[in-house]
């Protein structure tokens, strides 16, 4: 039971991290072999700006 609950919680956290772009930032850091910093985050924002700005939000 506890194992199932832990798995559920990890899935929920993974969903939230994806929705809130934290996973995308981690992938960016891994891809460019960078540590998280103000400069790295600014580069990530620059790289993802086009995709983020074109993302439609439904009614």
């Amino acid at each position: 039971m506890m194992r199932k609950l832990r798995k559920l919680a990890s899935v929920v956290v993974a969903i939230l991290r994806e929705i809130f772009d934290e996973s995308a930032y981690q992938r960016f850091l891994a891809r460019h072999s960078l540590a998280s910093s103000v400069t790295a985050y600014a580069s990530f924002l620059r790289e993802s700006e086009q995709a983020r700005a074109r993302r439609p939000r439904c009614c």
Binding site: E18, I19, A42, A53, P56, C58, C59
Partner: protein, 678 residues
């Protein structure tokens, strides 16, 4: 589980669904519990997902677990990323769920809870879910191509161009309609206006915090933003009780409209990280939390529905919007049943994240079922209100009058008891000066939601806090759509202008940014202004126009899907997409006919223009009606053209004059399954 048990389980679920549907459909003269709607919906969704979606997956689409998806083949860690199916589901749901499934059912509740509820359930399982699922899969098989690109490659250049125009039109009209909902919710409400005004500096603060102090910690930043927004709600109560501050934040509808137009322009032209992205995060955070809370509140409280199943306004004389159940209930509830806008999401980010083809079923079909359930909850929130209160809040001054006593008398005459004292007491309980003539759906939804929440948690003492929480939640949603929609529209215009003069297509060139932002904001701002100045409240004209646009886009999406199905050589299963397409054609074309040519001035734009002209009204009001008629007609003509063009393609393929050739990317064997097993 043994097969016999599984069969018995599904028989039991089906019987439960049928019994619940019969209960909500056949009960007359006595009130029923809201749980009947929930059980009817959930049972139908379960059966539809288990059987209908698996039939579509196996027979129509032939989902292939061995086929590599673009997320695998084109993986770049940025746009194309193989992602866990539950994560994609959450991501997709967060993108498709907006204020539409909340507002549409509230407006359609004027017919009673029954027509809207049946449409939400049937429309979703047979239309909306099918559209989202098939478009998602077809986009996956075309490397994540957009709807307009698929229309161009599968139907023809004209089809692609019309799909492009339909998308631009729906964005403009959607933004005008939803901005009007915010204006109607915030006018003369210092508490609500202060809270929403505060979300802007909060978003900027979040943007700076995220970029400078805690880079990448979005969840933490969103939680911080949420705490600040809650503080703003409490601050709003103080503002509303302070005579000097209340005067500053008590704004008229035209002033609010101007401020929202300026905000839309700024949000489109400012850097994404400063305003758009943090607002999007904050809105999503509040949205997911509040929808979960509402579901828990309904289950915990199990409220009684006070709205009758069918009201006298089934005859088309409704005060919220004029028109009979067919076709108007079906265009009023778009999101929650069938929404063309979803096809943009299903052919946008989502197809680039799907790891295995069979997962498209859960994300596409299942995601829409979840949104449909949100619409059912909105219908419940509207129907728990006393009908007299519902009509007092949702009826425009042009129909019931402005004076509370006169409005109460009109509504009581309709057979729905309400008194001015009762409304004054309710307005006091939610911290507003008045709740009469608060058209648009948002205030009625907020009152219903506040009743459910306060009866579950905190009692009447905190009803005002819950009401303003609900208003904040809806306005935050809507302003996020204004930001995102204006920016998406700006990019589409820049893409188009780039074909005429290259520098205009450069998305980072500031003159182009300012020009295209101004064009898009002017377009939707015009519709907003028109709604604000409309003596009938604006929603009467704008929401049906938006519904027609949205369903016409769904018609285009299903038309693309039907074309691909025929080209795939699966014409024997074409009814899956063709029947909802034909239904939408019938609904949208009939609604358009009525909105343009109906002789009743409350329905037809042209007859209303004639009535205004005869009364010597302002020329601008007459022009607005004619403009709405022209926009509706142009959209119908465009969709008729795409139907004709695709009909020709279908005939050619079915008669063998053209080879059935789909534009899918070639089959590549997946490596992910083997890697996951290893």
């Amino acid at each position: 589980m043994p097969k016999i048990l599984r069969v018995l389980l599904w028989v039991a679920v089906s019987l439960l669904g049928a019994f619940s549907l019969a209960t909500i459909a056949l009960h007359r003269g006595e009130q029923i519990n809201a749980m009947w709607l929930v059980v009817a919906a959930v049972s139908t969704y379960a059966v539809a997902y288990r059987f209908y979606s698996s039939f579509i997956a196996a027979k129509l689409l032939a989902l292939d677990p061995r086929r590599a998806t673009p997320a695998e083949r084109l993986e770049d860690g940025r746009d194309f990323v193989p992602t866990n199916k539950w994560v994609v589901f959450g991501h997709h749901f967060a993108a498709i769920a907006g204020p539409g499934p909340l507002v549409g059912p509230v407006l359609a509740a004027q017919f009673g809870y029954l027509p809207g509820t049946l449409w939400i359930i049937a429309g979703a399982v047979l239309g909306g879910c099918v559209q989202d699922f098939v478009i998602l899969l077809f986009s996956i098989r075309r490397d994540g191509k957009s709807l307009t690109e698929m229309a161009k490659s599968e139907i023809g250049p004209l089809g692609g161009f019309i799909a492009y125009l339909a998308v631009i039109s729906i964005i403009v009209i959607l933004l005008g309609a939803v901005a009007l909902i915010v204006v109607n919710a915030l006018k003369s409400s210092p508490w609500g206006t202060f809270t929403i005004a505060m979300t802007m500096p909060i978003a900027v603060l979040m943007g700076v915090y995220l970029r400078r102090i805690r880079p990448g910690k979005v969840l933490e930043t969103s939680l911080l933003g949420f705490i600040l927004v809650i503080a703003a709600i409490f601050g709003g109560q103080w503002v509303s009780q302070s005579s000097s501050w209340a005067a500053i934040f008590t704004l008229t509808a035209p002033t609010l409209a101007i401020l929202i137009i300026i905000y839309g322009f700024a949000a489109s032209a400012l850097p994404v990280w400063l305003l758009l992205a943090p607002r999007d995060y904050l809105s999503t955070f509040v949205k997911l939390g509040t929808i979960s809370l509402l579901a828990l509140g309904i289950i915990a409280l199990r409220p009684t529905l006070h709205m009758p199943p069918i009201t006298r306004f089934a005859d088309g004389t409704g005060p919220v919007f004029a028109g009979t159940i067919f076709p108007f209930a079906f265009i009023t509830i778009a999101c929650g049943a069938v929404s063309g806008f979803h096809s943009l999401i299903s052919s946008g980010t989502t197809p680039k994240l799907i790891r295995h083809e069979p997962e498209a079923r859960m994300v596409g079909y299942g995601g829409m079922l979840a949104e449909s359930l949100v619409a059912i909850m909105a219908m419940i929130a509207a129907s728990v209100l006393q009908p007299g209160v519902y009509f007092a809040v949702n009826s425009p001054a042009g129909i019931v009058g402005q004076a509370p006593e006169a409005a109460s008398a009109v509504i009581t005459n309709w057979g729905f008891d309400v008194t001015a004292a009762q409304m004054a007491s309710l307005a006091h309980a939610v911290g507003e000066q008045t709740l009469f003539n608060r058209t648009g759906g948002a205030p009625a939804f907020a009152v219903g939601m506040a009743q459910i929440f306060s009866n579950t948690l905190g009692g009447q003492a905190v009803m005002a806090i819950w009401y303003h929480f609900a208003i904040m939640f809806e306005a935050l949603f809507i302003l996020t759509i204004l930001d995102a929609g204006t920016r998406v529209g700006r990019f589409m215009l820049q893409d188009f202008f780039g074909h005429i003069w290259k520098p205009l297509g450069r998305t980072s060139w500031y003159p182009s940014i300012l020009l295209t932002s101004a064009i898009i904001v002017n377009f939707w701002g015009y519709f907003l202004w028109q709604g604000v100045k409309d003596p009938l409240g604006g929603i009467n004209s704008l929401w049906p126009l938006f519904g027609i646009c949205n369903q016409l886009l769904a018609t285009v999406a299903l038309c693309v899907a039907t074309t691909i199905v025929i080209k795939m050589g699966r014409a024997r299963y074409v009814a899956v997409t063709l029947i909802p397409q034909c239904w939408l054609v019938a609904v949208t074309f009939t609604a358009s006919y009525h909105k343009v040519l109906d002789s009743n001035p409350r329905i037809g734009f042209l007859s209303h223009a004639r009535q205004l002209a005869a009364a010597g009204a302002n020329g601008r009001l007459i022009f607005n009606d004619r403009l709405d008629a022209a926009v509706t007609s142009a959209l119908v003509v465009m969709v008729a053209m795409i139907l004709i063009e695709s009909g020709i393609v279908w005939l050619r393929v079915l008669t063998g004059r053209t080879a059935a050739q789909v534009k899918e990317v070639p089959f590549v064997m997946t490596r992910l399954a083997a890697e996951e097993q290893a």
